[in-house]
C-alpha cells in the first residue's frame, strides 16, 4: 500500500498491519510528556490504575512550565506532586525552575524528540514535534498515565489532508503566517480527527524552527498531527541537538491516498493576523486599522525560539515601544535566553522599553506574567485567542508573527513591518 506520512509513522510503532485509515492500532510510545497542570492529574490516575513503576524512566518528561515560576500557593503545591513522582520513579527528564523551559521548545532543543518517534503528551501542542517528522499528538492526563504505565497507547489511523504551499514568499512572510492562512482557509475543525501533511517548495525551503511553529498550530485546525517530511534540514537540526535519529529519512509515497489536497499560493501575500475569538478569523494585517493595543507578548511554544527573537529584535532595534503598551518578551528556554543574551538581543529589547521575562507559558493561557484587564487588547505570537484566554472575558487577543507583534508594539496599534 502506498502510504502517507501518518501511516508510515504509525506502522513503525505497531505490530498490527495498517491497511486503511480509521483502523485502531496499539502503538508503542517513544516519549511521554506532561506538565505542571496535567502532570498531577496523570500521576493521580497512574496510581489509581494500580501502577507502581513507569514503563521506562528515560522515556518520560515532566516539564514545569505553565505557571513557572510558581505563581501562587496552589500552583506551587501542584509542582510538589510532580517533583515527588519524578524522584520516586527516578525520571531522567524532570525540568523545574532554572532547568525548565516551554516544553515544546525544550524537548526538540534537548534532542529528546526527533524524526520517526511516536510521542504522546498531556498538552494539546504536543503536535509540535511533527515539525521534525515525529508522530506526536496531545492527549489528556489519564491517557498519558496509561502510556506511562504500559508504554503503549491506542490510536486511530487518521486520514490525511495534504497542504501544498507554492509561490514566492514576501520577505516578511513567516511560518506563522503560513499556518494562519491554512487555519483561516479550512477552519478550526477543518482537520478534525485528521492529520495534516505539509509539502511544496515553500515547505522544502522552510527552516526547522519554522516547521515546529507550523506543526504546533495543527491542533488549531482540529488536527491530530501536523506532519513534515524528514530531509537534510531535519537531519542537520538533529545532529546539532544530539538527537540519535540524525540519519533518518521519511517521505510520503508518491501517489498515496489523501482525503483532500489544499493548495496555497503565497505569492504577494502579506503577514496574517488571527482576530478574536477564534484562530480561524484570519485577516491580512493591512486590513486591520485603528486597533490600539495595550499589550504585546512575544514567546510561547509557537514563537519563542531564537529565530523568533531575532525577528523581533530586527524590528525593535533602535526604536521605542509605544507609550501605554507593555511589550513582554519571554524566551522559551534557558538556552534560547542565553543565546539571545550573547547575541545582544536582550539589550535591544531593554533599550526599546520591553519587559524581558523568564521562560514560561505564563500569559499565553492567562496564567500569569501579563494578564489582560477589562477591554484590553493584545497582539501575541501565541496560538489561541479564545474569549478570555489571556485574562478578562472582555479582553481581545490577536495572533501574529514576531515581526507583526514587534511592529505593533512600536506603533501602539496592530501593524505590519511595512508600517514602520
Amino acid at each position: 500500500m502506498l502510504q502517507t506520512l501518518a501511516q508510515k509513522l504509525l506502522q513503525r510503532h505497531t505490530s498490527d498491519e495498517i491497511t486503511q485509515d480509521g483502523q485502531i492500532v496499539q502503538c508503542k510510545v517513544s516519549m511521554v510528556l506532561a506538565n505542571d497542570i496535567t502532570g498531577p492529574l496523570a500521576i493521580k490516575s497512574f496510581y489509581s490504575m494500580g501502577a507502581t513503576k513507569v514503563f521506562d524512566r528515560t522515556k518520560i518528561a515532566l516539564v514545569m512550565d505553565h505557571f513557572t515560576p510558581q505563581k501562587d500557593i496552589a500552583s506551587a503545591n501542584q509542582v510538589l506532586i510532580s517533583r515527588k513522582f519524578a524522584a520516586e520513579q527516578q525520571l531522567t527528564h524532570y525540568y523545574e525552575g532554572g532547568d525548565a523551559g516551554v516544553e515544546h521548545t525544550l524537548l526538540p532543543e534537548q534532542g529528546l524528540v526527533g524524526p520517526l518517534d511516536l510521542v504522546v503528551g498531556a498538552d494539546s501542542h504536543t503536535c509540535t514535534y511533527g515539525g521534525l517528522g515525529a508522530f506526536a499528538t496531545g492527549m489528556g492526563s489519564t491517557d498519558v498515565a496509561a502510556a506511562m504505565a504500559l508504554g503503549e497507547t491506542w490510536l486511530k489511523v487518521p486520514s490525511t489532508i495534504r497542504v501544498e504551499y507554492q509561490g514566492e514568499a514576501d520577505r516578511d512572510l513567516r511560518a506563522k503566517d503560513l499556518i494562519l492562512l491554512l487555519i483561516g482557509r479550512i477552519g478550526v475543525d477543518g482537520a478534525l480527527y485528521q492529520a495534516l501533511e505539509f509539502a511544496g517548495p515553500v515547505i522544502d525551503a522552510l527552516e526547522v524552527e519554522g516547521r515546529l511553529t507550523m506543526a504546533n498550530m495543527a491542533i488549531e485546525a482540529g488536527a491530530k498531527a501536523g506532519l513534515f517530511p524528514v530531509d537534510a534540514k531535519t537531519r542537520a537540526y538533529c545532529a546539532e541537538h544530539g538527537n540519535p535519529n540524525a540519519q533518518a529519512d521519511l517521505r510520503a509515497d508518491p501517489g498515496c491516498h489523501y482525503a483532500q489536497t489544499v493548495k496555497i499560493d503565497v505569492s504577494g501575500l502579506e503577514p496574517q493576523v488571527s482576530c478574536p475569538h477564534l484562530p480561524a478569523n484570519v485577516r491580512a494585517v493591512s486590513e486591520l486599522k485603528d486597533l490600539p493595543i495595550q499589550q504585546v507578548v512575544i514567546g510561547s511554544c509557537t514563537n519563542g525560539r531564537i529565530s523568533d527573537l531575532r525577528d523581533a529584535a530586527q524590528i525593535l532595534r533602535g526604536r521605542k515601544v509605544s507609550r501605554g503598551v507593555r511589550c513582554i518578551i519571554l524566551p522559551s528556554t534557558p538556552t534560547v535566553w542565553k543565546q539571545a543574551l550573547k547575541e545582544g538581543l536582550l539589550e535591544i529589547f531593554m533599550d526599546a522599553g520591553c519587559i524581558v521575562g523568564p521562560c514560561t507559558c505564563g500569559p499565553c493561557l492567562g496564567g500569569h506574567m501579563g494578564i489582560l484587564g477589562d477591554g484590553e487588547r493584545a497582539v501575541a505570537t501565541t496560538n489561541r485567542n479564545f474569549k478570555g484566554r489571556m485574562g478578562s472575558l472582555d479582553s481581545e487577543v490577536y495572533l501574529a508573527s514576531p515581526l507583526v507583534a514587534a511592529a505593533s508594539a512600536i506603533c501602539g496599534h496592530i501593524a505590519g513591518p511595512k508600517s514602520l
Partner: protein, 167 residues
Amino acid sequence: MIYQGKVHRVGEHIDTDAIIPARFLVTSDPQKLGEQCMAGLEPNWVKRVHPGDILVSGRNFGCGSSREHAPIAILGAGIPLVIGHSFARIFYRNAFNTGLPLLEIGDAVEQIKDGDSLKVDMAAGLIEDATQGIKLHFPPIPASMQAILDQGGLVGYVKARLSAQHG
C-alpha cells in the same frame, strides 16, 4: 442506562478555556472544578444546572487544550452526558476516559432547544425531547469506547490489564 434532565444549550466551537479557564487549573478536584464549569463562557453559568441536566452543543465542542479538567468540570457540575453536533478529538478521548459519555448526532442537534426536557435511552439509541415532541435516533457508542465506559473510565480499564499482567 437512561438519562433524564433539562437541556442547557451552548454554541459552536466551545473551547476548553470556556469550559474551565486555566486560572482554575490549580486543582484536580471534581467538585471544585465543577463550581467553575463554563466560567469562561459566562460567570456563574453553572448556577443554572441541576444534577442530571444535559449539555447540548454545536459543532466541535471541547476544542483547544488537552486539559482533562474540562470533562471533569462538567461531571463535577452534575452533568452526566453531553450531546453534540461533533467533538474535538482530545476532548472526545478525555470524556470517555473520565467516564463522561458523548453522543455525536450531527445536524439533528439543531432540533434540541435550551430548556427542553430530554430523556436519553443509551441502550435503545433514542433521544426523546418531550418539549419539542420529537424522537431522535443515534448509533451505538463505538465498541472500544463502550469498553472503557464499562470499566468506569480508562483507570479501571488499565487496572484490569495491569492486574492480568501481574496476576
